[in-house]
């Protein structure tokens, strides 16, 4: 999950198992609201990988991933921006 990560801060995201919707981890739970997403530092990656695994095992989410952030806290990659905002056309 964290193999090719660059950058220093991230959101933890996934798809909701039942609906497939894009969700973000807010520190307790998963929500479609990105503004509630918890900012994670590089040093915390392993801890949050374990958290993601726990929710996967509980059949809450699938396909967890870390979303790279810019210094100002905005999402860096186009793919992740599309996941957040929806289609671009």
């Amino acid at each position: 999950m964290a193999k090719k990560l660059k950058g220093d801060s991230f959101f933890l995201s996934a798809n909701d198992l039942k609906t497939g919707s894009v969700v973000y981890y807010n520190g307790d739970d998963w929500s479609e609201k990105v503004d509630k997403a918890k900012k994670i530092n590089r040093s915390e990656i392993e801890e949050y990988e374990n958290i993601a695994k726990k929710f996967e095992d509980e059949c809450i989410i699938i396909s967890p991933l870390f979303v790279e952030l810019n210094d100002d806290g905005t999402i860096k990659k186009l793919r992740d921006i599309i996941r957040k905002n929806g289609t671009t056309f």
Binding site: N15, L17, K18, T19, G20, S21, V22, E56, D57, E58, C59, I62, S63, K76, K77, L78, R79, I82, R83, G86, T87, T88, F89
Partner: protein, 547 residues
């Protein structure tokens, strides 16, 4: 059209029940994602960027008005009110919820549809010429053969876990409208000394290693078809690579072994199978053929309405084809309206088109591999009425075969594998070349756009192929020229370094200008490219001294 037997209905219903149980077990935590993934893929269910995606088979691209109406209902009830027709004559729903998918499959089963084998390493939906049975050029109707192959390949116990996915296309005329030579197996019905049989092509495909299929048999008798296919698949199943996903397709096997070696292995296997289980008897073939009789029997006297309406006349010229029976026409329904993603149809469009098909086209609709639809049997005298109705639905864009009739994969707007977006590129091209007189002047041209090297948008075989790449986090587009998916199949040549999204339309415009200045008489783009080669295009695109 083919009608399900009671056995077919039972098989599909059983599968739906089975999947319902699998979904329940997954949600309840009795199946892990690792265990569930191959099961959902066998039922056409993917996980994309924002949601699940369900791919539904439209065998050989043929739909009844009832089925099209059901697809519309499903898109409204369980999705976001539209569906996406693909290059392999399937339809995809982009937003279903996992827990709704068994309900969708159940509703599909009610109209004799399913999502079985639309994904996974098995024999996929059999594709076909969208003008099968209604054009004058073919040896015979290829659809019954697609159905025979479909029956054989569905749930084939030996071929459910092949090294990789396996795609088969069948055509029956010199003109290839099904991209037959970029399939794992391409079958072409031919006549030889008063007997009809099959030319067999093997090893075509796109993706990161594009290959044109090689002819491995000049004539397989009809009765032997399934035994011959069984021989090919058995060899592939035994010898295809399973250690490397990128080298697992039969195209790699044929290129590693060599054409002659693979051919001889298939022939020896075929000798063992011949005259055994899968021999097709004449009455069996006849039984299937009976399902595909034309709903109209005789030519009629029916003339095309003459109207002083410019738009109608442009449409007649561009989107209407002669039917094999006098008095009838074939309408190509464009799914490339200038503001719509290529291949998308809204629920309203599908619903109303199903009514038009029922009223005017004997209830039939076809899907083309170029992501358009077809109304196959329209009385000439009805053409003006149908045009009016299609126009109101934005389904009469007169651009079939023109520069705005692009093939395009979903790209990064939906697909988890994509490295760049493709739909917005297609829309920009549409907007840029929207003017009808410009499109007419350019003439026949195929632009095909893929959002990654997997080539779902067929960029390798586009006259102009566009491949979206990720260059250090930026979208970048590589252009290839001279590809073709028709009877003279060719793989395009990469023209040079890629272009940014902003530079791309200017580059396409330059390519069109180079074509126009080299064009003689009525030559189309591909003829010009084949005559002058890639150099003039390179020069105009990259030579900085060129103003």
């Amino acid at each position: 059209m083919y009608q399900y037997s009671d056995k077919d209905k039972q098989i599909v219903k059983n599968r739906t029940r089975e999947f319902l149980s699998q979904v329940k077990r997954r949600i309840d935590g009795n199946l892990t994602e690792e265990e569930f993934k191959p099961l959902r893929l066998m039922n056409g269910l993917y996980l994309q960027l924002h949601a699940y995606m369900l791919r539904v088979a439209i065998p050989y691209g043929e739909l009844s008005h009832i089925q099209l109406n059901k697809l519309a209902e499903i898109s409204e009830k369980y999705d976001k009110g539209y569906g996406h027709f693909t290059t392999r004559q399937n339809i995809q729903f982009n937003w279903p919820k996992l827990e709704d998918v068994p309900k969708i499959l159940n509703e599909l089963a009610d109209v004799e549809m399913h999502a079985i084998q639309t994904s996974g390493n098995c024999i996929r939906n059999i594709s076909c010429d969208h003008l099968a049975g209604i054009n004058n050029e073919e040896v015979e109707d290829p659809r019954p053969w697609c159905e025979i192959i479909r029956k054989w390949s569905t749930f084939h116990p030996e071929f459910s876990y092949l090294p990789r996915k396996f795609k088969i296309a069948v055509i029956a005329s010199e003109k290839d409208r099904a991209a037959m030579k970029v399939h794992d197996i391409g079958l072409k019905l031919i006549k030889k000394r008063n007997e009809t049989g099959f030319e067999v092509y093997v090893g075509g495909g796109q993706g990161r290693s594009p290959f044109i299929a090689k002819k491995i048999n000049n004539f397989v008798k009809k009765r032997d078809l399934l035994n011959y296919l069984e021989a090919i698949l058995s060899i592939y199943n035994e010898m295809g690579r399973r250690d490397n996903i990128y080298k697992a397709r039969i195209k790699i096997l044929i290129n590693e072994l060599g054409e002659e070696k693979l051919k001889s292995l298939i022939e020896s296997k075929f000798k063992k199978f011949a005259d055994k289980n899968l021999l097709l008897e004449e009455d069996e073939i006849k039984k299937i053929k009976n399902y595909f009789k034309l709903p109209i029997n005789n030519p009629i006297k029916s003339s095309i309405p003459v109207k002083k309406n410019k738009e109608y006349n442009i449409w007649l010229n561009q989107n209407v084809i002669k039917h094999k029976l006098a008095g009838y026409s074939i309408i190509m329904v464009s799914l490339k309206h200038y503001n719509q993603p290529p291949g998308d149809a809204t629920a309203e469009q599908m619903k109303k088109l199903s009514i038009i098909a029922k009223q005017y086209s004997h209830g039939e609709i076809r899907v083309t591999h170029e992501q358009n639809l077809v109304l196959p049997h329209i009385k000439n005298s009805d053409l003006f009425s149908v045009w009016n109705k299609l126009s109101a639905l934005k389904l009469a864009t007169p651009n079939i075969g023109l520069i705005t009739d692009t093939i395009c994969c979903p790209g990064m707007d939906y697909c988890a594998l994509a490295t760049a977006r493709s739909i917005p590129i297609s829309q920009k091209i549409s907007q840029h070349f929207k003017d009808q007189s410009i499109q007419d002047k350019i003439g026949n041209i195929k632009i095909k756009i893929s959002g990654c090297i997997n080539a779902c948008g067929h960029h390798h075989v586009g006259n102009i192929g566009i491949l979206g790449l990720d260059r250090n986090g930026e979208e970048s587009y590589q252009i290839s020229l001279g590809g073709s998916a028709d009877e003279k199949t060719s793989i395009g040549k990469i023209v040079g370094p890629s272009f940014s999204e902003k530079e791309l339309i200017k580059a396409i415009q330059t390519i069109i200008e180079t074509f126009e200045k080299n064009k003689k008489n009525n030559e189309d783009f591909l003829s010009v490219f084949n005559r002058v080669g890639i150099d003039p295009f390179k020069k105009d695109l990259y030579d900085k001294s060129n103003p």
